[in-house]
Subunit: 341 residues, 2 copies
DNA sequence: TTGTATGCGTTATCAT
DNA sequence: ATGATAACGCATACAA
């Protein structure tokens, strides 16, 4: 590994001059700069990250907390889109992207390492907290530290956050369905979480504003992305005396289960019953009939998260705490029938 | 940031003793070790990664090259599974996972940084090359360097690789279809690549072994995951005078397009025509009818990649170059009809 | 068992 | 415009 010292010897100048030249300081003659740069290239010089960090305390590395308990997070379409936007943007701005894990063998103590310790250890310039248990003490400890942080889809008081606008999303969907003439709308929502609560409140609120009655039996719960549970809840809804004319599902993926329940009951979408998803995963466009859904702009969500974080890192003084809401967009598939009342 | 020096002052011992104590060397009394460890915990000591690397040349950080030109790689189901296995395994073993990008603002020269330079700079203990253009000179330069490397789904002579056994996969599928009584089998394969070539050869070879004739018009090409192209190729196949009884698709996702073509032609799967996918993405289980496909064990592929790489890192002498083939498993959906001939 | 001293590669301060 | 030198925090060879 060729070092600055090697370069200084080869060029017949001091290490100080080499360092300055490579960092393009003004107090080195253009001529020597060029000579040194050429030599660096020729000798295959690559700066030593460790020494650099030791001096400058800047790693140009961003930590990403992403760890759902199921461990299947990366295969989750929505988060995959977000991560993709995050990764691309981080890289564009000249940073690296490192996952923050909870093990870390370099630990001094045996009993593992907390997220905060890990982040301090790696000296991340900033941390994006994407997908995790936001109630865990470890995460809270991390959030409350003095490391630049942006949370995703979850809001802490005094920290910046980027969130998908679920309230608006559900509102738009209900309005859409309403305008298509539907009045008996059922909602199979996901299991409890901050996101779910927002969606449910928005559902009730919007229905109330529109004067739609929501019988309790129209509200069902199924875990996100759980096709089996969604199948069962859908079946229950279909067996009601007064069957809904439209069912809103937890997400596009879970919808597959609901769709099967409908088909197996001998019914057709959208002729016999209308359906609405959430997320806008790629495949929902290609289903037959294509699914009406709220397309979350996953890429942009990741992008904004990266942008905000890097802005905090690079302009700590002028960058204020803000909660950025990103709206989704209705993808009008063919799964909602126009009812003429 | 509390350092070893701070600890040494607080404990009234030398920095050397503190260092030894924290690294659990044998030549420090158990008693002082405990005292120092307690103090470290109390004062919130976290070792400084940079200094440590500077001394030891070990980062416990693994670089991952993952950059398809489209930039949508992370949302690709198959690769998402692989990355997931890779990430989990890397973390289990106490390493961190960092994406290797091509920008890197820390560069000394303006014209960007090569993959190799970036890896040298970050001093990754090893690099996994997952998804990229394996023909690009930059990648080749990286592969030929002396950094511990494992490639994924692509084999270089003298480097270890983990690959999904496509030859075996296609072979198994064809056998399955054959045993279900099919003799007129069409194959819509992906666009040219090492993987595609393996699959096509295996298809021809297996058919030959089984005495199946493959008319040229039964071989079509559509880009992977391209539902539109697959829709068109399928339509063409359906319009042949002698229509195939079974169509094999490039992948499960693209299949959606093919399925729609079949349905819109007024035909039914599997009664009128049988279908077979490739990959085993989650959703194919939940389609109606469920898709017969070759389930690649993405998680395990990632896992093995990580294991091999870490083995090379930790036992450079005893770890030999090997090409690890991981077999997939047929998922017998209901999309292939049993033909009685 | 503990302590002293040195160097890893870089940058920054202060001279020259 | 260039150079000498200290310092960043840690691990280790060697001395006590």
């Amino acid at each position: 590994m060729v070092s600055i010292k090697d370069l200084s010897l080869a060029c017949g100048v001091s290490t100080a001059t080499v360092s300055k030249a490579l960092n393009n300081h003004k107090d080195v003659s253009e001529e020597t700069k060029e000579r040194i740069r050429k030599m660096a290239r020729d000798m295959g010089y690559v700066p030593n990250f460790a020494s650099k960090v030791l001096k400058t305390n800047r790693t140009y590395n961003i930590g990403v907390v992403f760890s759902d308990e199921a461990g299947s997070g990366l295969t989750h379409d929505y988060f995959a889109m977000v991560l993709n936007g995050l990764k691309c943007t981080i890289e564009e701005k000249g940073y690296d992207f490192t996952f923050v894990n909870k093990n870390g063998s370099i630990s001094t103590w045996d009993n593992g390492v907390t997220y905060l310790e890990h982040c301090k250890f790696r000296r991340f310039d900033g941390v994006a907290v994407i997908c995790t248990d936001f109630y865990s003490p470890e995460i809270i400890e991390l959030i409350e530290s003095d490391i630049p942080i942006v949370t995703f889809d979850y809001i802490f008081n005094d920290r910046s956050a980027v969130v998908s606008d679920n309230v608006r999303g559900i509102r738009d969907l209900v309005h859409y369905v309403y305008e298509m003439g539907h009045r008996r709308i059922a909602y199979i929502h996901g299991t409890d979480s901050a996101v779910t609560r927002n969606r449910i409140s928005s559902f009730y609120k919007t229905c109330e504003e529109l004067g739609i009655d929501v019988p309790p039996e129209y509200m069902r719960e199924a875990p996100y992305r759980d096709t089996t549970a969604t199948y069962l809840r859908t079946k229950e809804l279909l067996e009601l005396k007064e069957r809904p004319t439209c069912i809103m599902f937890p997400d596009d993926f879970a919808y597959i289960g609901g769709f099967n329940a409908i088909t197996l009951a001998g019914l057709k979408v959208p002729d016999d019953i209308s359906t609405v998803g959430y997320d806008g995963i790629e495949i929902s466009k290609y289903l037959e009939p294509s699914l009406t859904t709220l397309a979350q702009d996953g890429y942009r969500l990741g992008q904004e998260t990266a942008n905000k974080l890097i802005s905090i890192i690079e302009h700590p003084k002028t960058s204020l705490v803000e909660h950025i809401f990103i709206e989704g967009k209705i993808f009008p598939g063919r799964s909602v029938k126009k009812l003429t009342t």
